[in-house]
Structure formats: C-alpha cells, structure tokens
C-alpha cells in the first residue's frame, strides 16, 4: 500500500504538449507511472511520448479511464484546467504550475473539495511512491522503495533530503510535495492522517518553512493523533520578516509564521527537529535502527 497513488493510478497530463509537460511525461513513464492520456485543446488526435492527446479531459477520461491529473497548464489558465478535471471525475489533481493567483486557488480548492477531488499543490513537485507511481516532477533518481514517509512544502530541498535518506541506505513509502503557495489543496494536517493509516509507513519526515501556521497545526495534530515518529526540518530560520523568500507562502507577516514558533510547536509535539538539513537523514536512520532493535 501507499498514500494516494499506486500502480492503479492512471494519469492524464494537462498541458502535455508544452515543454515541461512532455519532459515530465517521459520521466513519469520511466518511473513506472501509467500515463494514459494527455490533454491540450486543439491538439486532440496527436501523440506525445506515445501517449494519446485529447481535446478535453472528459474525452481523455472516457477513452482511457484516467483517474488522476498532472497539471502543467500556465497560471492564467490553471483554474479552468482544474475545474475541467474535477467535472470530468478526476479524483486526484497534482498542480505543478506556479504563480497561480490565490484568488483563483480559493475557487479551485472549494470547488474540488466539495466534489471529493483532492488537489496537491499548486506550485508543487507532486507525489511519488517508489515502486508504485509518481505524479509530478520529483527526480526519479532520489527514490528507493522503503518505509519513510515524507511531506514537505519545498521542492528541491525535499529532493536533497529524500536523496539523503537513500544515501543512508533507507527508502521512502510515499513522498508528497505540498507546494509553496499560501493556499494549497493539501496541507500537513490533510496529509498526516493518510500516513498515520498507511501500513507501509514507519516514520515520517516533515519539511516545513516560514509563513502561515501550517506547521503549528501539524504539530497540534501530531500531538493528539499521530503515533509514528516524526523528524522535522523548518527552512527560513534566518529569514527577515516582511520578505517573500522565493515561495509566495514563505513570508513572516504581522509577527506570524516565524521558524521559531514552528520549531517550538513541533518539538512540543514530540517531533525531533533538525537544525541542519543534512541531519534529517541521520535522525531518520537512527530512528529506523531503533525500530529494528525494538
């Protein structure tokens, strides 16, 4: 088992004919993902990386049984792409696109949620379960099947940490990059219960960053309802207030969203919080070893 994706996941790539869409379709297929369709309006009937392209998600779903979507559509059109996916019955939508206005995302989030479609992202690297399926853009090379779950607001930093886990001889159950925007479809507290109930996950790595209170809410959830060991890292300890640090969501504003507050909350909830990113794999390895001994 894994979280949200598995070998049965059938992916339609929205925006498949764009450069990113094409490159990552190839990489998803190399990972082992069943990419069954692509969509680009006006390009129906063509093929990209052997994958048939359709004019609409509805056509793609009815022809191929796609049940998940990976969205690369440019920001001004991403809202429409997501609504189309939801209306076509897609249950999992990974939105890689960055710079989507949060006003659009508010509409997308509520529309999807009220119809039972889960959004991951936007502005995210997606989700991958080694040996299973990947929907998104996380490099294939960092993975190795294993029992460590990872949830993160970052992209590259996640690759770095996931790779570190691999280099320490361990592997991942499922890794989810939630995205760096202020409004995301799936937050830590939405993802935590999935890992809690996943029998393939023994321990969890949580990578947070400054801005908002998602980590504080995660800490509260962990304290009350999460039974597996957690190793956390928070990026942005040195960031000044009032500045957006790359991610639209990474900003300390009006005194809220500091790294200190997040670290304190997570430690209070019993998580081990690393000071340096390279400590994360070490802590994971330690906990995994303890688990084996126990």
């Amino acid at each position: 088992m894994s979280v949200l994706v598995d070998r049965g996941t059938r992916v339609v790539v929205q925006g498949i004919t764009g450069h990113q869409g094409t490159v990552h379709t190839r990489q998803m297929r190399e990972f082992g993902t069943q990419v069954v369709a692509g969509v680009t309006p006006g390009k129906g009937g063509t093929r990209v990386e052997e994958v048939p392209v359709f004019d609409s998600v509805r056509d793609a779903v009815s022809a191929t049984g796609a049940n998940a979507s990976c969205i690369f559509v440019p920001a001004p059109f991403a809202k429409d792409a997501l609504l189309e996916a939801v209306d076509a019955g897609i249950r999992l939508a990974v939105i890689v696109t960055e710079h989507i206005p949060f006003h659009d995302m508010l509409v997308m989030y509520h529309y999807a949620r009220e119809r039972g479609t889960r959004i991951i992202g936007p502005n995210c690297p997606g989700i991958a379960s080694p040996g299973g399926s990947k929907v998104g853009i996380i490099p294939n090379v960092v993975f190795r099947p294993g029992r460590v779950g990872v949830i993160s607001r970052s992209g590259t930093l996640t690759y770095e940490i996931v790779n570190g886990i691999k280099e320490h001889g361990l592997g991942q159950s499922t890794c989810i990059g939630l995205g760096g925007d202020p409004v995301v479809g799936t937050s830590f507290v939405d993802a935590l219960p999935l890992f809690e109930s996943d029998p393939d996950t023994d321990l969890l790595v949580l990578v947070g960053e400054i801005g908002g209170t998602a980590e504080e809410e995660a800490a509260e959830y962990i304290r009350r309802s999460f039974s597996k060991p957690v190793v956390a890292y928070i990026a942005g300890r040195s960031a000044p207030p009032g500045k957006r640090m790359g991610h639209a969501g990474a900003i300390i504003s009006r005194g809220k969203g500091t790294a200190d507050s997040k670290v304190a909350a997570l430690e209070g909830a019993g998580a081990r919080v690393a000071r340096f990113p390279y400590e994360v794999p070490l802590m994971v390895a330690e906990l995994a070893a303890a688990r084996v001994r126990a």
Partner: protein, 377 residues
C-alpha cells in the same frame, strides 16, 4: 506584493463606491495652492506623507493646515523627510474631518481555512496587532456566495453601528468585497474607518494586490514598492531575489533549499547577504543573468548550492561559465560550489574545467564559503 500608497488605495476605494475624504495628491509644494483653490482640498486640511510604513502620525509625517500657506509649508516639510528609510515623494492633502468613533475593517486571507476573512473591531485607529484578540470579530467568507447580508449584519453589531450607519456599513462592505475580488487583493484594510457625524468615511486605505495576479492588473505595473533597486531588477527578470544585511550571496534552486542554505550559513557563523532562488530552469542564459545580478549586489563571496531536478547541474555550470566572462572586473567574487543531483557528473566536470571545484558535502562547502567571505563586517 504590490502595496498601494494611501492615495492610490483611496482611488481604488472610490472606484468601488467606498466613502473617502475629499483630497488630492501632490508631488511638490507648488501644486498645493491649485489643489486648494480648485476646491479639490477643502480647508482646514490634513497633510500626509505617502509612505508604506506605519506610524506616520507619531513620526511627524502627518500634519495639519488651516490656510494655503500652512498647507504649503507642511508639504515642503514632509517632502523633505526620509521616513523609516523611505524618501517621501508624494503628499496627500485631504479635508480635515471631525471624527467621532474610529473603527477597524479589513479583508485578508485565512490560509488555513482557505477563505477570505472579514475582520472588524470597534477599536480602530491603532495598529491592529496591538488590539486584544477578543476585541476583533473574525468571519470567514466563502468565496462563492461572497460576503452575504447576514455577515454584514454581524459586522454592524460587532462595530456597534445601527440605524442608518448600519445601512451605510452594509453598502460599504458590499463595495469592500468587490474591491477584494476585483483587485485580487491580499489585504484591503480601512484603519480607521471614521464615524464622521452621520457618515462613515474611510480615513486611511491600505490595499495590497497579490503579485501572482499582476497579469490581470497592468495598471499597477509601475507601482513603487518597498523593494531595493536590485530587487526591482530581479522582479523584472523574474528571479526570486531578496537583499539582506550580510556578506555572503547564496544562489540555489528552489525556495526551500535557498532558505535552508542561508540558515546553514547563519548557524555556522556566516552572514548571508543575498537570497537568490534560480527556480526551475534549463536555460544557461537565465542562470548567467542570475550571476550577473548577484555580482551587482557586491557580495564578499558566493555560495552556489544546486540540487539538480528540473534545473540540471550542467545547465547551471554552463550559465556560471557564461556569466563569469561577462562580470566586470570590479564585481568579481570568490565562489564555492556544491552541485548535486540531475547531471551532477557533467556539471562537476564543466565546473572543474572552469577552475571551480564542487564540494559535495553541504557543511564543508558552507564552511568554505564562510572562510572565503572572511570575518563579519
């Protein structure tokens, strides 16, 4: 963030039918007389520096005038100020109103609920952070039906407004909601909302438009913000770039990794001075552009920390090599590189050819760059 200056925020308010004082913005004292004589600014008037920082009242950036001469003098005085590091370039002259109660009203984003939130408080006129939590009423607004009548009634109760003032508030909140949506705002704040006799008037206006919606708002393309000149260039070149106080420039890919790199430097005793997130690119030109921008910030040393994914290690190496030649003599800097991940071998090879050694260990490379930057300033 596109933070609109007060006068521009009030223009937005008027566009949506929100009540504001009569007034006019001027850029020189010579415009004052005309503004008053034309009737655009009644006397007595308030003269306010158009800066983004708060606390203008205490800082001498707001003055009062009873005559044209006083208004002119106040304008001259304020235009000469540098307020919290910001030079005053514009001054807003407005009718002076006789204010009864001062209220607080704002729409902001609640990230957790993924909803806009309407905040109201009868303790307006002070910074909202200083108001007790239970003196602020918070109502989440669902984006679909929007701000509906019963919520506007609750807002009126929380502000202790009734009769015609409650009706005015109802209309005002309708306009505020339209402004929130129409301007793609991340904050619309009226502080204070004044009770002036039997009228409600927005005495201040804070409107922040979200960056990502800029494509829908070309009208704000030239709004001056609190960015440094280099940050302004970076914005135009679509590079995530933040200037800090320290000496070490960091170029990394991905916001999280870049932040983490800064953090590592700081933890190890270094002093990071520039945050530069390359983002995802496979264009060496884009990488070169980033290095040239970094050079302009004059760091004592630069740390290049790449974990290749979408951005491949060889692309970064090529961009670096391209940039090195283009950087003027006086702007060159010592570089420590750590490149890992997608096309690591090719990238390391290319760098070695250019005389740069990639240090794969993060701690070791961070310590190397700290050493290269020398002692803290």
């Amino acid at each position: 963030m596109v933070k609109l200056p007060e006068w521009r925020g009030k223009d937005v308010f008027r566009k949506y039918g929100l009540p504001t004082p009569k007034g006019q913005v001027v850029k020189s004292a010579d415009e004052v007389e005309g503004a008053i004589r034309s009737g655009a600014v009644p006397l007595p008037c308030v003269v306010k520096a158009q800066v983004l920082a708060g606390g203008r009242g205490k800082g001498g950036a707001v003055r009062f005038a009873n005559t044209v001469e006083e208004a002119r003098a106040a304008t001259t005085a304020i235009l000469g100020l540098e307020f919290k590091g910001e030079r005053v370039r514009e001054v807003l002259l407005e009718e002076k109103l006789s204010i009864g109660r001062e209220l607080y009203l704002a729409l902001a984003l609640d990230r957790t609920a993924r909803q806009p939130i309407l905040m109201t408080s009868s303790s307006g006129g002070v910074e909202i952070e200083s108001v007790a939590d239970d003196a602020i009423d918070r109502q989440p607004i669902h984006p679909f039906p929007g701000l509906v009548a019963y919520q506007r009634r609750r807002a009126a109760r929380s502000l202790r407004l009734d009769g015609d003032l409650a009706k005015q508030l109802d209309r005002l909140l309708g306009s505020l909601w339209k402004a929130w949506e129409g301007e793609d705002a991340e904050l619309v704040e009226i502080n204070p909302l004044g009770v002036v006799g039997d009228r409600l008037v927005a005495l201040d206006a804070k409107v922040i438009v979200e960056d990502d919606a800029a494509f829908r708002h070309p009208e704000y393309a030239e709004v001056r913000d609190d960015r440094t000149p280099l940050e302004e260039i970076a914005r135009e070149e679509e590079i995530a770039f933040v200037q800090l106080d320290g000496t070490i420039g960091v170029i990394a890919n991905g916001a999280g990794l870049t932040m983490a790199t800064l953090d590592v430097l700081k933890e190890l005793g270094g002093d990071p001075g520039v945050f530069l997130d390359l983002g995802g690119t496979d264009d060496p030109k884009k990488v070169a552009q980033a290095f040239l921008l970094m050079a302009k910030a004059k760091p004592r040393a630069v740390f290049l920390n790449i974990f290749g994914g979408v951005t491949r290690c060889d692309t970064v190496a090529k961009g670096l090599i391209e940039a090195r030649e283009a950087i003027p003599e006086g702007e060159r800097f010592p570089l420590v590189a750590r490149i890992r991940g997608n096309r690591e071998k090719e990238g390391v090879e290319l760098l070695r050819g250019a005389g740069v050694t990639s240090v794969p260990d993060l701690r070791a490379s961070a310590e190397a760059v700290i050493a290269a930057a020398g002692a803290r300033r």
